[in-house]
Symmetry: C2
Subunit: 422 residues, 2 copies
Amino acid sequence: VPGHDFERRGWVQRQLAASILLQSHTLSDRNMASLPIPPPACLLKPYAVPYRYMLGPGPSNVPPRILAAGAQSMLGHMHAETLEIMSHITSGIQYAFQTQNEVTLAVSGPGHAAMECALFNSLEPGESVLIAVNGIWGERAAEIAERIGAKVNTIVQAAGGYFTNQEIEQALVKYKPVLLFLCHGESSTGVLHPLDGIGDLCHKHNCLFLVDSVAALGGTPVYMDKQGIDILYTGSQKVLNAPPGTAPISFSERACQKAFNRKSKPVSYFLDLSWLANYWGCDGKAMRIYHHTGPVTGFFTLREALCILAETGLENSWKRHKEVAEYFHKGLEDMGLKLFVSEKKARLPTVTTIVSPPGYDWKEITAYIMKNHHIEISGGLGPSVGMVLRVGLMGCNSSKPNVDMVLAALADALKHCHKSRV
Amino acid sequence: VPGHDFERRGWVQRQLAASILLQSHTLSDRNMASLPIPPPACLLKPYAVPYRYMLGPGPSNVPPRILAAGAQSMLGHMHAETLEIMSHITSGIQYAFQTQNEVTLAVSGPGHAAMECALFNSLEPGESVLIAVNGIWGERAAEIAERIGAKVNTIVQAAGGYFTNQEIEQALVKYKPVLLFLCHGESSTGVLHPLDGIGDLCHKHNCLFLVDSVAALGGTPVYMDKQGIDILYTGSQKVLNAPPGTAPISFSERACQKAFNRKSKPVSYFLDLSWLANYWGCDGKAMRIYHHTGPVTGFFTLREALCILAETGLENSWKRHKEVAEYFHKGLEDMGLKLFVSEKKARLPTVTTIVSPPGYDWKEITAYIMKNHHIEISGGLGPSVGMVLRVGLMGCNSSKPNVDMVLAALADALKHCHKSRV
């Protein structure tokens, strides 16, 4: 029951805030006279974080049990318990991704770090890469691949569009890439990209298949092994409902073959897969060597998030996201709003794009809803800026009561922000 | 009072654990039959993290108010409140670093990400860099600089040593580097490197001065501006006592001049200073553009950690770390143990290296102390492996009761592990 859940959140919040206020901000005797830079006044008083309904494209709300998991006491980054938790995370990602890949781990950073980890390890300077660009994530992948000296080729679709398998195969033939980048859930445009058959095409043309599923994973089916995906990554802060700062990623044997037999070292030591695979115990070696200090409490939260997914069941999660999204889309259309993605099957169930209502300033709408309803919804991003409003219903936020709440907020905003700047 | 503090920790732990157990691990009706990879059993039961006294080289224990700050509810990475918290963090780092640098922020990753951020932005391919190597951190900086195609020159000191200003100037003259890397607190060997005068030498020879103070910052004086340091970074999980996953960093105007007028883009988009400076509102531009999703709750914890430092006062913190370290060192010598760094003024007050006692296996000692006393101390790292035991007393862990506790544990271990493998 979401209402129940929100009450619990409030309870945990109050307990924690009380604990903070109780213990903090008692100044000890100080002797600062000789320091050129004095302690800043803004740090000498507590800051209470307000509660927001996080119904934008992410981060999403974090359920209290995940917050609590992250507030457990610190362990060493290589303590036996931490390594055990990391192995649970590997198992959880294998389940979430539907893969048996051994090299399955979480990058110690946000989704962008995972994107760089994927591209840095699988591409060498001068190699041809094909990037499917139908929104901001393809643009960013191209930018990253260019920086490391790959030969970047793109196929481009306007915001809201996606690629047919035929278009993809033509480009594979034309550019002979060693890697294809495709975004599964294009959160800037609200497009869910079909995945079936593309892995086979890639392998037929001797190419690795890299999929960004940051905004889709857990909310809609993906079968890494069955769909022939060679590298797949997501973020912790979307459907998984963990705080941002860890990013699950997995590499197929084919991808590992390439990554572990490079001529040049990857540009980043921090994101070097050979080191990461050892840290995560995925390289078959008995001895773990210190690489970097992982975000230990981030691992606690990611484990808990994967627990919730395992308890819920992937298929139930996919089903719920689909039903809630359809319920939301109908509600929007009943209000006279227009969905940005016209084709039903191409609509991302996690992030919905709504055509920015004519006669309104989208910024007024999002600001009004934040101010009066404490709900985050957002405008467009990259190629969709100014064109859309975006609403995310991910993980615990994917519920019909949340839909009703955001529809009511939208209706209220449309009543109050009408043509105010026209 | 440390005892009081530990009690509080226990209280918070119990509250949170109860909250977790209450809410978690109720399986919903599942229908997994058709999924090739079933939900892993290890995720279908709770995992209670044990309490450890984190007296190794880091991460250190996290005080309850920092844990509580991190368990506050999620905000967007660009919400007004998040941006305000980030500006507080900038002020706090300026205080901790004793700098007025505008470009002062936290990298969304561990210390290694900050090291890469520093080197990626300040070096271009083919440029000469000088790395002072007297432990693992110089080795790693050299490794990173090599990967991005810089011309790497090193000066090397054996584990336990450091460099005179004369040696540094000779190398500056010889190699004409654009950047000098120096580690302030060499946690692998327990050496505190002197910093005075080196900035001036660098600038005289047209070179930027980059300092790694991951293990020292907050525990011993550093004056970024006064000492002419151009790039300085630290980690969140050492003296600051926040969880790992954010890394404070600051760039002088001289460093920014070089970073913002490069011919080539840095290899990493995620760590590109132009983007980071905009995200952190340090570039003077009114408009913030989405770059990546920062670790929002990591920012909550880092802010709280900097609050504690501001309340305590830097000078009090430096003084306490020095006194506690000296008390510890005397206790070790009274027990007949030998300090690895013979010169008193070169001893790092945050991480102490003890000569591995002859006739003992260091691994048995650390394992015994973990098993019987729940205290983490560690062996050597990189060039000091097998040579030392390392004990960290950082931030809230820098206290005389902790010293007494770890001395008692060491005495107990020396009684029980004696020559067991000889």
